[in-house]
């Protein structure tokens, strides 16, 4: 089962729930893979503290001139993303605009363009106790997160894969949620929380991934039940605000290990995920 933990709005508790679920299932003896797909700002490693065993540089193909060029500009005309321009006898590639589609390579009459790897960031594998840990770390200054997210998500296999997704409702979130069997959407009882929850539900619907909702800090805010119901996705669990969870999390501790009662709350969510997956 592949479980995407997502939210729309940032800071609702995705990483808290995702890492806690990983610990919960690992304690039950299950083979769990935790994947941090928030490659712009990955935080799962701060809590699970894995020992990294393998780090590779993740790359994306981009065109480079490797032969004769007469500046004919057929590559430039073929590129839909304005990512390559023809100069006199050479080309200039704007790497961050390139979608790696290869249209320029096809268009070059001299067959002089070749796709070559360009580095985006680190793809890291490790173990956190008995949790299989994978994350991505986008290079600072790099704009293209999505291909690294793809790499991180594809690197994960196993019976039980937890994908800690980036916030938002555009391509990074889509890439992380795509292919999951279920999406657990974490929200909070504020107007922002439910506005963005609705977007996240729509993303799931587009991707045919059934969403379920967990309301975090349920007692800190207003009554948002009608708005949550209106999204059409089921609310399966609520977690109340507890300053002990906030403080443990601020210190990089696993709240599931140190805050009384929190392990039960996570066990409830874990059960709800399993039940929802079977039903859907």
């Amino acid at each position: 089962m592949r479980i995407a933990i997502a939210s729309g709005k940032g800071g609702t508790g995705k990483t808290l729930i995702a890492t806690s679920l990983a610990v919960h299932w690992a304690k039950q003896g299950k083979a769990v893979t935790y994947v941090d797909a928030d490659v712009e700002e990955p935080n799962g490693h701060l809590f699970l503290r894995p020992t990294f065993e393998k780090t590779t540089r993740h790359t994306v193909p981009v065109p480079r001139l490797a032969g004769f060029c007469d500046g004919c500009a057929k590559c430039q005309d073929a590129c839909a993303f304005n990512a390559i321009i023809a100069l006199k006898e050479r080309v200039q590639v704007f790497d961050e605009l390139c979608h790696s589609c290869g249209a320029c390579v096809n268009a070059c009459p001299h067959n002089s363009l070749k796709l070559q790897p360009r580095e985006l960031g680190d793809l890291r594998h490790g173990m956190a106790k008995n949790i299989n840990f994978i994350d991505g770390l986008l290079d600072v200054g790099e704009a293209r997160a999505t291909p690294l997210i793809e790499g991180v998500v594809e690197a994960a296999d196993g019976e039980l894969v937890i994908i800690d997704s980036p916030p938002g409702a555009s391509c990074p979130a889509v890439t992380a949620i795509r292919g999951a069997d279920i999406a657990v959407l974490i929200t909070e009882p504020t107007l922002f929380g439910v506005h963005d929850l609705d977007l996240a539900v729509q993303v799931c619907q587009k991707l045919n991934v059934p969403p379920i909702i967990v309301l975090n800090r349920a007692n800190l805010g207003g009554d948002m039940m009608d708005a949550i119901k209106a999204t059409g996705a089921p609310l399966v669990a609520q977690i109340d605000f507890d300053p002990q969870i906030s403080v443990a999390t601020a210190r990089g501790e696993l709240a599931i290990d140190v805050v009384p009662g929190f392990a039960d709350a996570i066990a409830n969510i874990a059960d709800a995920i399993v039940v929802s997956e079977v039903v859907s």
Binding site: K9, E40, E41, H99, R144, D196, A250
Partner: protein
């Protein structure tokens, strides 16, 4: 005209409610831009009348002329995004969600059956608010053109500032450090990193300040929920100092804030906040 962008790295640290509150506390003429186009929330806190929403077009989508198509499926094999699939009745069908409009299908099609239509990726508008014009947008769900839409709302923000003689453009940015963040911070005068105590926010702040440095834009810090964990707050202040970012406000954690936000009231209306944010705005003005 000075452009100030509010960023955070980590999501949920309070960017939007603080930006809305600064917009209310600042008496100078200004324009507000919601550059978090994927999950835009500023309009919830700044009521007013929107002009007509305008379509935002970015890129194209492939369209198949089935009169010309001979169902050879070359496009299905060659599409780099696997966005053309064979249907049950053995025809190639474009998935508009996955298609990026690259044109490879058009290159490989033996019968020239492809054309490319402009793709609407979202909408944007300008709202007339008591505190100045608010430029805001809605990216269609699941889109990949957030950076371009951010560029669009920022351009309109500058145009509005020129038109209304505004001194400041306040930009509420997206979380992260990738493409839409680059579009939100390029060419601004000051990055304000809204952060909170804790290992996650600190890790993300580090990366964000490095990015600001990479763009050669000075940065300042607003420490939100400052009293949540004193030790974590100390560590954070050290990060700020090491990276040369001035702390322009420390805002205490108050349960009244999420309570107010659940009703669409920004934190400026929570008792005690007026003074903290008033002082914060003075400090920000001195920095730009």
């Amino acid at each position: 005209m000075k452009q100030i962008v509010m960023l955070s790295g980590k999501g949920g640290t309070g960017k939007t409610s603080i930006t809305a509150s600064l917009a209310r506390v600042a008496t100078e003429p200004k324009v507000i831009v919601d550059a978090d186009v994927d999950a835009a929330n500023m309009a919830i806190l700044l009521p007013g009348d929107d002009e007509q929403w305008r379509p935002f077009f970015a890129g194209t989508r492939a369209v198949i002329d089935y009169e010309a198509c001979i169902n050879c499926m070359t496009c299905v094999w060659e599409c780099p995004f696997k966005a053309i699939r064979e249907s049950k009745d053995f025809r190639p069908v474009v998935d508009e969600f996955d298609c990026e409009g690259c044109g490879v299908c058009g290159q490989v099609c033996p019968t020239n059956a492809f054309s490319f239509k402009p793709h609407q990726a979202g909408t944007w508008t300008v709202r007339d608010t008591k505190w100045g014009p608010l430029v805001h947008a809605a990216l269609n769900v699941g889109e990949d053109n957030s950076g371009k839409l951010v560029a669009q709302v920022r351009q309109e923000g500058r145009a509005q500032a020129a038109k209304t003689g505004a001194d400041y453009v306040l930009i509420d940015g997206p979380p992260g450090i990738g493409c839409p963040v680059h579009a939100a911070l390029g060419g601004t005068d000051l990055v304000i990193a809204v952060t909170e105590p804790g290992v996650s926010a600190q890790h993300d702040l580090n990366r964000l300040l490095d990015l600001a440095g990479w763009f050669k834009i000075p940065a300042a810090i607003i420490l939100n929920k400052a009293d949540l964990d004193p030790k974590a707050a100390q560590n954070l202040l050290k990060t700020a100092e090491d990276k040369g970012a001035k702390v322009v406000a420390k805002i205490p954690f108050m349960p009244e804030v999420p309570m107010a936000l659940s009703k669409g009231i920004p934190l400026i209306e929570v008792p005690g906040m007026q003074e903290i944010l008033g002082n914060c705005w003075q400090e920000i003005k001195e920095l730009v």
